[in-house]
């Protein structure tokens, strides 16, 4: 009996050792290919995004369609890294789950996450793939309509959604005080319709979608320049993820080739006739 257990043990130990060797060998050979053992699920590129996702970042709440700026970017990136289209797997999470500490269930997440130095202490970032202007959204009759300077805008009652850099923009760039903060963009628009706030700011593509679909009574009143302290959107990784270098290099090639810029013009076109307030 005990002999048999010993044999069994020896066999399993041997098998495990062989397996470990095999993994080691695979790691040495296949770094930077779809079978890279450092991937969450080797053979697949696992990408996190929020649930729901909004146009124009991704259309129809369907990342798999590849229609929309961010999912088109992911599929282009996957191709650049050697993955087939079917090898891209999506994980749907909330923003809180994406930023939560602990092991992340994705290789990287794409969700218009702004890169800041403080955030980079606890998560990993790729290089910036898009930097958006900010747009002022307001309903007819709001005091911000016709504003010509930051000083005109400052006096209004502002609102913003948590987790966005819109709040930091309002407080640090515009100098607004007592900004009301809501759970999401929908809450901001509810407050606007309830007359509790006069205006909000959002990334220009978000604002274009919102004023076209979510709250058609509202309009974009003005365009504001990007925040110098906000580098723009980057891909989010677990802190110290060894994949960053590989993904980042592929992203760099796409940016250099002009592919990303092409996508910006395809999916995120702005109305050029909007007034711009820059100080």
């Amino acid at each position: 009996m005990s002999d048999r257990i010993d044999t069994f043990r020896r066999l399993t130990t041997g098998a495990l050792a062989a397996l470990a060797l095999g993994i080691g060998a695979a790691q040495a050979q296949e770094t930077g290919t779809p079978d890279d053992a450092r991937l969450i699920n080797p053979g697949f590129l696992t990408v996190g995004t929020s649930d729901p996702v909004y146009p124009p970042w991704m259309l129809n709440d369907s990342p798999e369609s590849g229609e929309g700026f961010e999912n088109a970017l992911v599929y282009a990136l996957a191709e650049e890294m050697g993955f087939a289209r079917e090898q891209v797997q999506w994980v749907r999470l909330t923003f809180e789950q994406i930023i939560a500490p602990g092991d992340k269930p994705f290789d990287f997440a794409i969700n218009q996450v702004s890169v800041t130095p403080a955030r980079a202490e606890v998560v990993g970032f790729s290089q910036v793939y898009y930097q958006s202007d900010k747009a002022v959204i307001a309903l007819p009759g709001s005091p911000v309509i016709g504003a010509a300077s930051f000083a005109d805008l400052r006096g209004a009652r502002w609102g913003a959604a948590i987790g966005t850099t819109d709040l930091a923009y309002l407080e640090n760039v515009l100098g607004a005080t007592d900004v009301a903060v809501y759970d999401d963009q929908v809450g901001v628009f509810q407050a606007m319709q309830a007359g509790q706030i006069d205006a909000t700011v959002a990334a220009l593509p978000t604002a274009l979608f919102a004023t076209a679909v979510q709250i058609p009574e509202a309009s974009i009143v003005a365009i504001l320049p990007p925040d110098a302290g906000d580098s723009g959107h980057g891909l989010l990784f677990q802190h110290g993820n060894p994949l960053i270098e590989w993904v980042d290099a592929a992203l760099g090639r796409l940016i250099e080739a002009g592919t990303v810029q092409e996508m910006v013009t395809t999916w995120l076109v702005a109305d050029p006739t909007l007034p711009i307030i820059s100080e």
Partner: protein, 284 residues
Amino acid sequence: MIPEQPTTPPPPPKRRGFDWRTALVPGLIGGGSIVVVFGVLGWLVATNDNWPRIRAQFFNPDHMLAALPRVAWGFLTNMQVWLIAMACIGVWALVLAVVRSLRGAWFAPFRLMVMLYIDIFRGLPALLLVILFGFGIPALRIPGLPNSGLFWGGVAMVLCYSAYVCEIYRSGIDSVHEGQRAAARALGLSEWQIMVYAILPQALRNVLPSLMNIIVALQKDVALLSVIGVRDAVREAQIYTANTFNYSSLVVAAGLFLLATIPMARLADWVTARDRARRLQQAG
């Protein structure tokens, strides 16, 4: 016939000397098990591979210090809403409870109204009420009514908690013995006078511990107002977390809540103990 008395009295019970075993063993077992349980828990946490990262993200002193002013400022909002709501709830719930406990036939429609009120406001999640009141009523844009989220969120909390507190008051009113009512009526007091002079003073005293419990719960639930744009301690902490992805600000907020609720809990214990002592004294 008187039974014969024993000639020698029974020996007195043997006096027990100081027994180290009975004095020390329970203490040793208690202390030892505390050390073992907390030691194992602490060891499990400290040896976890992710612990240094968790510590940096949740217990980072620099981030805690940086978040403290704004979180503390938000906590002032919590305190203000809590105190004002507490006063309003205390009065409004008492009105409801008294109306519900009035016995005249003429009061039937009012009793029914209070019953419906309690069914509705106790049956709905507080969060839902806060959203409905905070966004819904201002959106009606009724002239003359304030449209601040803080105001309507506070109203929602008062309406919701009054339903609970009304039931507590009522249980207190019901717990006063029927004889008290009869005695008061025998003295010629009216229905109102019976309630005010005979029933309520005893009822309130009986439910004081339960009320303290509700007050602590209310203090924490003020954080629900954050969903309608009120920047309370929790929301300020969340803002800090969203900006930096560091959770230490939430720990700061948790600390502030504990600073406020733990003294409340001890106060509630003390009130209960004093009340118990008073009753036992009366009974003896």
